[in-house]
Amino acid sequence: MNAERITEKLNILADAAKYDVSCASSGSKRKNDNKGLGNASNGICHSYTEDGRCVSLLKILLTNHCIFDCAYCVSRKNNDIKRAAFTVQEVVDLTINFYRRNYIEGLFLSSGIFKDADYTMERLVRVAKKLRIENNFNGYIHLKSIPGASDELMREAGLYADRLSVNLEMPTEAGLKLLAPEKNRQDMINPMNFLKNEIILRTEEKKLFKRAPLFAPAGQSTQVIIGATPESDQQVLQSASYFYKSFNLKRVYYSGYVPVLADKRLPDLNTSVPLVRENRLYQADWLMRFYGFHVNEIVNNQNPLLDLDIDPKLSWAIRNMQAFPVDINKADVQMILRVPGIGLLSAQKIVSARKFAKLSWEQLKKIGVALNRARYFIVCKSNEFERRDLTGNNIKQFILAESQSKYNKNTQTQLNLF
């Protein structure tokens, strides 16, 4: 092995892949029952970059050569950068050797478009196939589906990969047309639709025949870039909600645009990455998937943008004061989940614990409830009620004034009201 050459390729092709956000390695159910190497189910982050993102997969491009010229992409055809391409065997060796040393949970393989969609997709599939068949590898494999790839290749990909994803790139079709005029939405939707149907079919089959092969057991995901085009949070979340419903997606990832190229269609190179907005979108996404919120409750025509100062659940609560106070010792779990400062685990613990005795402030705190927010919205055993006659706006100001770390950072520029 030529260590120097591999290192150079790895540097180029890892660097070019780092803007792909998905790094999940959970949700699969691949067991090591062939006396081979590895298994995939738990989802372990093996390291964290200095920007605080998790490293769980070897995330690389097969190549950064690309026939397309999308404005937001470092690998675009007209960008003057070093180009490289891995051979199939090189990717396999890296994956296996990293996995054996417990550096990674598996492989996330994406690619620039070599020649056409099928030519590129076929190579991605070949890597996965080699890992599974020749190396008995049961670790996690996430393949990026190339828009426009044929059904036949998508089917083969599903047999070897744990997860497949097509990047939607921009939240709306108009945004896509602006920055990637050569791409079209339908090319992205077709493979997504094919996979959705195939997954349903295979799941049925698996119910009947236990030995039926796994087919993309961790499902499909997608990602959209935020802040490169002017879509509102309402547009972003509505599009996410549509894709969750229509294609049974496991995840939608939101990637705050990192300015890497000068282009008059794009934000200026000095624009900072919209980290807070990205964080709020993920919080909103969580509310839709785990907390029973409808997208219109989070963003709507009156509130098309997420509040950057406070999280979307608190924001919803302040707009809907009539729904509170919630009695912790009586309310449905669905309603407890809507209280700011109470998460999934705390809600579960509350519902279990209150069967034994009514809960007090002290116990709620121990259970893990963030009382600095929750206390304005609940009553419990001790009958004091913190809200008194405060308005939503009062509450927001109180919470902002006393919270130290999380929110203050964003409110420094505001005038001190108290």
């Binding site: 790895l10 090591n32 006396k35 081979g36 590895g38 200095e50 990293f98 809960l359």
Partner: protein
């Protein structure tokens, strides 16, 4: 106030519980350590681990707790956290003193404390599954050293055995001076004598030739995936506390 001294094993702990009930002791403190006779402290009792008595207590617990509840109790004890015996004993007493299954009564301080202990132990178990870095030795064995805060090595055997079935490996807890060796068939506990290999050159020569290459590749990968525009040191440190760095290839 009686102080009970036991040997630190789970059986010992259960025997102690037996003694507490047998002698009707109310104010007790349980510590692990070696028994030393001393006339000065008459209220110190030695617990002699007794399998029969321990089993009776375990049988009693099984009637009152789910299998998962027993498992949680066992893990909390395994962690060997200092001075947490009273929480565990308090929990067991609460279990025996109540008619219904109390393992989800999070309003109770012992149930809550047990769940806190478990959370800490499980977090470290998970971190060890993530942060172990194997290095390949000349005889094709993959070796990793760890120094966890809690004694989680026994809890991670199954994970690594399921994952790495076709390679030999050793995970060694330097702090507690014992390790696990997997020989392609079974795992067993081992102790190693490091007195012979304290020169760095000895250590390096024990690795295969490609070991250094893959370590370098991993380091450069780690650097390449970082996005400078998003630097967030506080978040980074929260995820990888510094005490783990000395065994992380990408951080050395």
């Amino acid at each position: 106030m009686y102080t009970l001294v036991y040997d630190g094993t789970f059986e010992g702990l259960l025997t102690a519980v037996f003694e507490i009930y047998d002698r009707k002791l109310f104010h007790v403190k349980l510590i692990k350590g070696e028994w030393r006779t001393s006339a000065m402290f008459e209220e110190v009792l030695q617990v002699i681990t007794d399998e029969h008595r321990a089993n009776r207590v375990l049988k009693g617990l099984r009637k009152k707790l789910s299998a998962a509840g027993i498992q949680r109790l066992y893990i909390a004890h395994m962690a060997e956290m200092e001075n947490e015996e009273s929480a565990i004993v308090g929990f067991i007493r609460y279990v025996f003193d109540t008619d219904v299954n109390v393992e989800e009564d999070y309003g109770n301080k012992y149930v809550m404390r047990l769940s806190e202990i478990l959370k800490m132990v499980r977090r470290e178990k998970h971190r060890m599954e993530a942060f172990i870095r194997f290095q390949k030795l000349k005889d094709e064995t993959y070796y990793a050293a760890i120094e966890p805060d809690f004694n989680v090595l026994p809890l991670i055997i199954r994970h690594f055995k399921n994952r790495y079935t076709d390679q030999k490996w050793i995970i060694y807890d330097i702090k507690r001076r014992y390790g696990i060796h997997y020989d392609l068939h079974d795992t067993q506990y081992i102790t190693l004598d490091f007195s012979e290999v304290n020169k760095p050159a000895d250590v390096i020569s024990a690795f295969t030739e490609d070991e250094k290459i893959y370590q370098q590749l991993w380091k450069s990968y780690f650097t390449s995936v970082n996005i400078v525009a998003r630097k967030n040191t506080r978040l980074h440190l929260r995820h990888i506390p510094k005490r783990y760095w000395r065994h992380l290839t990408e951080k050395i």
